[in-house]
Symmetry: C2
Subunit: 340 residues, 2 copies
Amino acid sequence: MSAPIIAIDAMGGDFGPRNIVRASLACLTATPSLHLALVGQASLIEELIARHRGVDRSRLQIVQADEVIAMDERPSQALRSKPGSSMRVALELVADGKAQACVSAGNTGALMALSRFVLKTLPGIDRPAMIAAIPTRTGYCQLLDLGANVDCSADTLYQFAVMGAVMAETLGVTRPKVALLNIGTEDIKGNQQVKLAAGLLQAAPGLNYIGYVEGDGLYRGEADVVVCDGFVGNVLLKSSEGLASMIAARVEMLFGRNLLTRAVGALALPLLKRLQADLAPARHNGASLLGLQGIVVKSHGSASVEGFQSAIQRALIEVAQNQPERLRGRIEAMFQHGRT
Amino acid sequence: MSAPIIAIDAMGGDFGPRNIVRASLACLTATPSLHLALVGQASLIEELIARHRGVDRSRLQIVQADEVIAMDERPSQALRSKPGSSMRVALELVADGKAQACVSAGNTGALMALSRFVLKTLPGIDRPAMIAAIPTRTGYCQLLDLGANVDCSADTLYQFAVMGAVMAETLGVTRPKVALLNIGTEDIKGNQQVKLAAGLLQAAPGLNYIGYVEGDGLYRGEADVVVCDGFVGNVLLKSSEGLASMIAARVEMLFGRNLLTRAVGALALPLLKRLQADLAPARHNGASLLGLQGIVVKSHGSASVEGFQSAIQRALIEVAQNQPERLRGRIEAMFQHGRT
């Protein structure tokens, strides 16, 4: 794939197209092989582009979409009554082979529902999962699912483990350590789904399954991939974001106490901010939807320009590594070993 | 209750009786009205007491117990085959009215099972819950369940909400705001149990139910009491502990970089350590078992002397506030309003 085209849902997110257009143009400049398709209200997008100089229009197309899915719209409604939404048109570019990936900062539930409807899941995958990187003491861990699937059967957790391992490999980890998130490391701990999933994973061919990790083990870096249902994953991700920003606020307060500490605070603050961004990975870098016949990256609704750029970069890596085909190959190998 | 007696399981925890005896004697000195019953291997406890001076033996009794429950022992085994364990004998002192509360740093599962067997739950309560205080931007929030109950029905979550509210009141909060932990604040979000529990709580008399909070809302201090199943609560608590200690390590590293920052680091480190302790509340202050016909506080297995002291203090507050009777009264009031 010499010249990947990324379809950008220019209308999604809390701030409208302004940040998204800025981030897109910055990526276009930074990556000379990149082509973008900005999907949304064409006149508005043109107006925003006109504010920037030196835009290489030969690598930038604008695709008109008449409708916008609101951030609080029900997924079912978005699916039924808005065939011309920017999100859907962007996904259809991927389905039609006119783009190799879609990036959106829009309504998560709608993006999940539309992705599944437009792109379909890979054979053997029941439900797509949402995955993001969480910083740990030793590096990063891929956590899934982050909220797309509230209740998960053992079989779904098993599929997530396989998908997570492929994503870690896509991002450069060799023989990633895969673990199930649990409330203890002994065999007797956990709910029925987790215990059954553990049995499936122990028997899985070619997967480096290391057993259970607990919430603290995740941050100690015990695994490269941590699997849980979407309720648990979402709570873990959001509470971690909330805790990190509370700690950052307290440390800032601490630094503000006297002149000496204020001086050092000024030195340390950029590093603390970076830590905080690191600890809100989905907000900062985007999360991938996994298990689809196509690449979809979700940027946070309130992502900054840099955050949206990171999401485009993530999509580019997945395109370069051909993530869905890797996943398809892995799943087929599993099928041949007798798993359903 | 002028002279409360607290039964201490002296043999529980990762470090054996040494820390526990030290913490117990410190509490005895600090609280002149306190009486303690140290339960365990009497000769060993006597030996440890002999190392301390000025111990008021008139307020300290030693109760011999021949067996110890191991930290990795199965609860069912602890229940069946160790009738003479220090944990069980301490709980029996409470059941027999010879002590007003029990504090243990031992095996959590065994403590839950034995408490339920020896003390019984209050009428109307199906399962005891484990609760601890989590620091937030505005103060503290009581989080339950922390791992005692892996799967919870809507009715169990409802009971937890009532129990959590009573605990918050016991600790001094007027009309505590009660919320269900969820992965969104819209009505359509969440799993079936949470949605059903929301319906029950909306109709609950005398409960200040404010709806759903998310993981980040918890740390923003949106609620005084946050209710979830034990799997979710345990993951939230342990991942928060893991994240806080990871951040503390990074901040320390940051401070170590040059002479100036090292100097400030030395100033700030005690405050950072305190923050970290604050963020590991169950480890530091102990967690209460709620819904029993008696007061039981679980100190963390690897609690420090200060941590175990805090757990004894927590038990003392619950004794002074007559926690189980408050809870009984509240549950009866609910029954009269037609709930089952």
